[in-house]
């Protein structure tokens, strides 16, 4: 008996410790305070997820050191896949980096749980310097909680060689849905025997399905963030447009694109048209068919619509180095920092007036198309628990466009499940 009681006691002790561990009392000084004095000696951490942008970030840190030579900045790069899983664990353990990248799908979650510093009082940060639809993405309850770092919009990438071989001219202005469909059909008919498609198909949300739904006059998530738009007539119209091209053999079907990514099809000259973002420029610069590639404004439906998204830089609300972190964050938001990342060709800068630097850094393509699109683009749809319904999209888009008569029922299921996620948020 003694032994059993001892074990129970041990188990009890473990339980008690674990429960005590859960109940921590947060002490947050909500004020951001003044920037660090130039002579301040401190160490801060900076969390990012893109290895390719690390050199540009290091250059920014070097430039920062000209103003604050004694503030050490340690960059910690985690692959995008586990980045947000890790960030969530760091947040739970009160161990967030002082300054870190955040994106649209995750912003609201961190902001609403008080993980991010309110930047309204940050010296040297003026939201007017960035596109308003991007500032809106990083606004929570009327206050900014992250500074836009860069942005991407969507345009129509094309392969002029394939278009010419099908007897078509390359697009110079925005094509309508019908023109897009006709051009895709012409290429597939002319070159299908060589396994070349008119367009690359696929199921991209930000680059394809979101803009199409908006172009049909619909929305992905209602303005008050309580309802999914996936079962609306407008969303169904967008899905039917894509479904029709698959059915008529103009675009590859979803099983084909699951095995052969649209990006790869276009990059290897096996698709003539590919709606996607400016982030493709880095890859397409080295494409085997790069000499034939160009970019035109995004297609349009009943309405013109584009989607803008960009990375934001945020500060941990519980940072123990707020003066130093504020100084670094303010510098990250400055024109100088945005020009540095633009010159490196790392990302399209968000600071208004610095885009020319980026456009000139990759002269192969006329990337100003993406900059022009920013003016009227709509804010990337997001809610508090966006990652939950992003997974539902991943699971159900392929069923909607699977071509086996489930378009309406699968869209309905996506909307119902997404509504469930949104109901849990409030």
């Amino acid at each position: 008996m003694a032994s059993r009681r001892a074990f129970l006691g041990l188990a009890g002790a473990v339980t008690a410790t674990a429960l005590a561990g859960c109940a921590r009392e947060p002490e947050i000084d909500p004020a951001i305070g003044p920037l660090a004095e130039p002579g301040l000696k401190d160490e801060i951490t900076f969390g990012i997820w893109d290895k390719a942008q690390e050199p540009a970030m290091l250059q920014i840190v070097d430039a920062f050191h000209e103003h604050y030579p004694d503030i050490g900045v340690t960059i910690s790069t985690t692959a995008f896949g586990p980045y947000f899983e890790r960030l969530r664990i760091q947040a739970q353990g009160d161990d967030l980096p002082d300054v870190f990248w955040i994106n649209g799908p995750n912003f609201e979650l961190y902001a609403s749980y008080g993980m991010l510093q309110d930047l309204s009082e940050l010296e040297g940060f003026d939201p007017e310097n960035y596109p308003p639809n991007l500032v809106e993405l990083y606004t929570h309850e009327g206050a900014p909680y992250a500074i836009p770092k860069d942005f991407d919009t969507i345009a129509l990438w094309f392969n002029r060689d394939l278009l010419h071989r099908a007897g078509l001219d390359e697009p110079t202005d925005s094509w309508s849905w019908d023109e897009y469909r006709e051009a895709s059909g012409a290429v597939t008919r002319a070159l299908g025997a060589e396994q070349i498609w008119g367009n690359a198909g696929g199921l991209a949300n930000q680059a394809l399905i979101y803009p199409l739904i908006m172009q049909a006059g619909g929305y992905v998530i209602s303005e008050d963030k309580t309802a999914s738009g996936y079962d609306s007539p407008e969303a169904l119209e967008a899905f039917r447009f894509l479904d029709g091209m698959i059915r008529d053999g103009i675009a590859p079907d979803v099983r084909y694109t699951a095995e052969n990514q649209p990006k790869d099809l276009f990059n290897n000259g096996r698709a003539a048209l590919y709606p996607s973002g400016n982030w493709e420029a880095a890859l397409l610069q080295d494409s085997p068919v790069r000499d034939h590639l160009g970019v035109a404004p995004m297609i349009h439906g009943a309405e013109e619509a584009n989607v803008i998204h960009g990375i934001g830089v945020a500060m941990s609300a519980r940072s123990r180095h707020k003066p130093a972190a504020s100084a670094f964050l303010a510098f990250l938001g400055s024109e100088q920092a945005h020009r540095i990342q633009a010159e490196a060709g790392a990302a399209n800068p968000a600071f208004i007036g610095t885009n020319e630097t980026y456009v000139e850094a990759i002269p192969e393509f006329s990337l100003d198309v993406f900059v022009d699109a920013a003016e009227t683009a709509r804010t990337y749809p997001a809610s508090e628990n966006t990652s939950a319904w992003l997974q539902l999209e991943e699971l159900l888009y392929p069923k909607i466009l699977g071509g086996d008569g489930q378009l309406e029922s699968a869209a309905e299921e996506l909307a119902t499940r997404m509504d469930g996620v949104l109901a849990d948020e409030s």
Partner: protein
């Protein structure tokens, strides 16, 4: 005095038995019993994304009853497990052939059959993904030689499950063959000599001597294989990849658990799924232990 004897015996040992047990027991408690208990408690909780939680009563259990993904996941997991269990008779055949007396190159075969066990699962899954590719895969190329147009293995609902199950079966063979080889080497050769004297041919010997005496190993394997089968995750995850139209219809229970816990941020509901997996494995294993009395021969 008699009455007192065992008690005094115990007190003389003092805490020593506990001390010796402690290293193992602490591990078992901390890494097995405590998580099971915590999962049970969590199943009644509603979780926030940063670990904060509140009592939710039976809500997570109610969610499970209405979740249309669950029945399909149970079915998928059961089908996968059933197919992987078919690997055991295959392994019995292979192990018997490999353990024939005087077989040339037997070492070579042992290495060959053990290779899958030392390969990295995700790398293996990616190679199989290519093998099953609709356009360029070896499988459909071979089918094409027979005049059959192969399906989209990885991206059609039932075909994908079949493809994953075939790979799962293939990956389960090494362990089975090792254990069965050990079992085979434990069968006394006199039994075969006696059977030969009685005029039994090799097939008869296999049926009446080899298989009955292997049943303890087979039983052990069926328990282990079934438990592994019910825990299907990494192979499925790596083979299916992103944006796969068959994914919604090919989810396993552990895959559902993963998406609820780490993608949907709903650790309470994920706990209910974990308990369901535990329950299914428990019941199935119990049934196997009940049924073994009918077919397992211990000498």
């Amino acid at each position: 005095m008699n009455h007192d004897a065992p008690r005094r015996h115990r007190s003389r040992d003092g805490a020593w038995p506990l001390v010796f047990l402690a290293p193992l027991m602490i591990g078992v408690i901390v890494f097995y019993f405590w998580p099971i208990l915590a999962t049970f408690l969590n199943s009644f909780s509603s979780f926030g994304p940063f670990g904060d939680r509140s009592f939710a009563g039976l809500e997570n259990y109610r969610t499970m009853l209405t979740d249309s993904f669950i029945p399909r996941a149970v079915l998928n997991t059961a089908v996968y497990t059933a197919i992987v269990l078919l690997g055991i008779p295959i392994a019995v055949g292979v192990a018997s052939l490999m353990n024939q007396k005087g077989l040339r190159l037997s070492r070579f075969y042992q290495v060959l059959f053990f290779l899958p066990a030392v390969s990295m699962p995700v790398a293996v899954a990616l190679v199989w993904r290519m093998i099953f590719n609709q356009e360029f895969g070896v499988v459909n190329w071979a089918l094409g030689l027979l005049g059959i147009e192969g399906p989209y293995w990885i991206t059609s609902p039932w075909w994908a499950l079949l493809a994953v199950s075939i790979v799962g079966l293939w990956a389960s063979l090494p362990l089975a063959i090792i254990i069965l080889s050990a079992g085979l080497q434990g069968i006394p050769s006199e039994l075969y000599e006696a059977a030969q004297l009685d005029g039994a041919g090799s097939l008869q010997q296999f049926r009446s001597v080899t298989v009955p005496l292997l049943t303890p190993s087979i039983f052990f394997l069926s328990i282990i294989t079934a438990i592994n089968g019910f825990q299907l995750f990494d192979l499925l995850f790596a083979m299916m990849g992103q944006a796969n139209p068959a994914m919604a219809d090919t989810q396993s229970l552990v895959y559902l658990f993963y998406s609820e816990a780490f993608r949907q941020n709903d650790q309470g509901y994920a706990s209910v799924i974990a308990l369901l997996i535990l329950l299914i494995i428990g019941v199935f294993t119990l049934l196997q232990f009940r049924m073994q009395r009918k077919w397992v021969h211990y000498e």
